[in-house]
Symmetry: C2
Subunit: 182 residues, 2 copies
């Protein structure tokens, strides 16, 4: 069955973006070679569900999702609709102004039996809260940022238990996989 | 040469204590068997330098440092001096109301050529800022807490680069070692 998977890079101190959405630390910390974890994610993904901030960074950096290696369908969940639909490396995305449940359903339909990969902490948080998230894959990066956008920031939420499914050294990055238990 | 090493447990989302200094998540997530990383830390440590909050948790939980496996010298850096010196599993600690530099120097002297292990985020942060921290060892715990005390929370600080030195599976915990580069 298709899974909903959140894939993100994170600093050791739990930030997924630095102050002012700075992502240079992440680009600087590339694993420096082939990364089988990314290859595996790319094999599994049938559709991306992307948040506003991730899309804004992509619009600015023009790297393409997975450095341009992904060119399948993508959905952007945002409530401020842009005038033009987003185009990433020649692929036109669909902007959704719907609930998280409907957004995940739309992405799953488009994934054709493959998995949906979430890019964006805010969407991942909403998926978690709605019980829609199956897995988390993190590329842990050896830097302390001290400030920025937190992986998970829900002071009133209850703790979420995870089960580690793998850990792997990818250059100086550490890839970690978790199942969401409850 | 003696090293100054920060050893801590951390939730996947970067908390070292839950809301209200709750540490139950950490005790619940024991690695469930022998942990060679802890054995290695215990072999290396000649003195502990402990923060106020860690000491308060120890006073409350009475587990002893490293579950009672450590019974060497320890120093507590706090600026509210208690009436009685702290006693942990029969060992009397020394309370210091001094600068971080002097506290580290005192602990290094007591360590007799072995390493100083820091327990406590606030002290570790001060060591980092003063350029006194050599290594970080983290037992990453598969839970998202959402709130509590952050590993590293210094929005105005500059990023600190690290180099991963090891990663190891310890039951469901993941032990990670880092050198502080700059």
């Amino acid at each position: 069955m298709s899974k909903v998977l959140w894939h993100t890079q994170m600093s050791l101190d739990g930030f997924i973006a630095g102050p002012n959405d700075d992502m240079r630390w992440a680009f600087e910390a590339e694993s420096g070679g082939p990364d089988e974890t990314i290859d595996e994610v790319l094999e599994r993904v049938g559709a991306l569900l992307v948040g506003r901030r991730t899309q804004d960074v992509e619009d600015r950096e023009q790297q393409g999702f997975y450095g341009g290696a992904y060119n399948g369908p993508f959905f952007v969940l945002r409530h401020d609709l842009p005038e033009q639909p987003p185009v990433v490396k020649g692929v036109t995305g669909v902007v959704l102004d719907v609930s998280i449940e409907e957004a995940v359903e739309r992405a799953l339909s488009a994934a054709g039996g493959k998995d949906v990969v979430i890019l964006g902490a805010n969407i991942a948080r909403q998926c978690l809260a709605a019980g829609l998230l199956d897995e988390i894959i993190i590329h842990l990066t050896p830097v302390l940022l001290g400030g920025g956008v937190r992986l998970f920031d829900q002071p009133d939420g209850r703790p979420v238990k995870l089960k580690r499914t793998f850990v792997a050294e990818r250059g100086q990055l550490t890839a970690l996989g978790f199942e969401v238990i409850d």
